[in-house]
Symmetry: C2
Subunit: 250 residues, 2 copies
Amino acid sequence: MISVILLGTGNVSTHLLNAFNSADNVRITQVYGRNESALKRIAKDIPYTRNLEDLKKADVYILAISDDQISTVANHIQANSGLVVHTSGTQPITALKNHIRRGIFYPLQTFSSGAKIDFSKIPICIEATSEKDYELLEKLAKTISKNAYRLDSEKRKKLHLAAVFVNNFSNHLYHLGEEICLANDLPFEILYPLIEETALKIQTTRPIDAQTGPARRNDQHTINQQLKQLTGVPLELYSLFTASIKKNYE
Amino acid sequence: MISVILLGTGNVSTHLLNAFNSADNVRITQVYGRNESALKRIAKDIPYTRNLEDLKKADVYILAISDDQISTVANHIQANSGLVVHTSGTQPITALKNHIRRGIFYPLQTFSSGAKIDFSKIPICIEATSEKDYELLEKLAKTISKNAYRLDSEKRKKLHLAAVFVNNFSNHLYHLGEEICLANDLPFEILYPLIEETALKIQTTRPIDAQTGPARRNDQHTINQQLKQLTGVPLELYSLFTASIKKNYE
């Protein structure tokens, strides 16, 4: 049984709490947060505290808090010889440098409040400073997910950068697609099956082979027609994507 | 029973043929194409021809061919008082102007050879010049899909433009994500669950509300760190997306 103290009351913390609560061989013994109503809402039956000095003893302390809080909180906690980890994609392991036993437990997913998440497929990226701690984190990851990956801070940073492209930027393209629909009295739902298939297709076909559309076909007539319908950022993005896609298939 | 003649041997034609073949109340009576081996492969038991003058009589003639061929082929066929439609997202209905009974049957999806497609969820966008022909196309669409939409040529063009953003450009972002992974010895598969969840999330949360990431948080430190890791098109795209996302949440 691995005992865990969760620090944070945001989306990552809430989803981790729910996942660990349904898992075997792990027990959340305490939750820390600053906001009492958030604590009550997410902790339910689990003891919680708003005071960092009241942290109990646990095998692993998970800091699921915003990037800019990690060092401050890490500097204020007594880990009682436990392992201290954070869940950030971008912060280095050295953000926890005042703890001898430190590590990373980064679940690579987009977490929203409310949305149900199946943790079993979520990749959990792990780093530690000793093999023993790595094994502990791997064991912890395996209680909720089938996919644990060992990544050092440098690689995790690159992975987070790739994630910004495929997640944050794709989502913004969906937003722009919705804007075009709204402006033309088209239901955005009409695009759901296309968006879904596009995202699933790359699991069987490499994106470079799955590419379709006017830029891929070098269909300059359609490209010119579409450019005429756009202004502002969508126009600039259209031109940049079109040039970049064309270059791949020259 | 609606009788259909399919013109074309590409991905759209192949997927339509398979869908109609498994459907009730519709029969493909002939397939036309220029390439004999492609015809043999896709037509199987259905009669086929390479000669436009040998087209039989049918209720609907579906031109599932490339945009630049539509007018030429339409001008060369005798539709025997049948309804002539094309499957393009961008070409107007007037591309078929030498046929009195003309229409559009545009399945909004990304079709690849090989990939199995569940047609039942694919939106089929329909246009016709008479109510009777519209009803015929709607009946035809309903044999393979639950989602038929009535869209005129102008709206279909806008929908296709939105599709370019959410499909073609998202796929290119996946390609750039894979490039970052490859350059850093990271398995691209690690991003599959994130890509999938991002695409599915917008069915329950509007993209503007689902947006996460450094630009959304206005986390300039992470943005600067990430910009330093990029060159060329990815750098330009990163800057443009970041500015555009920021603007939405100012």
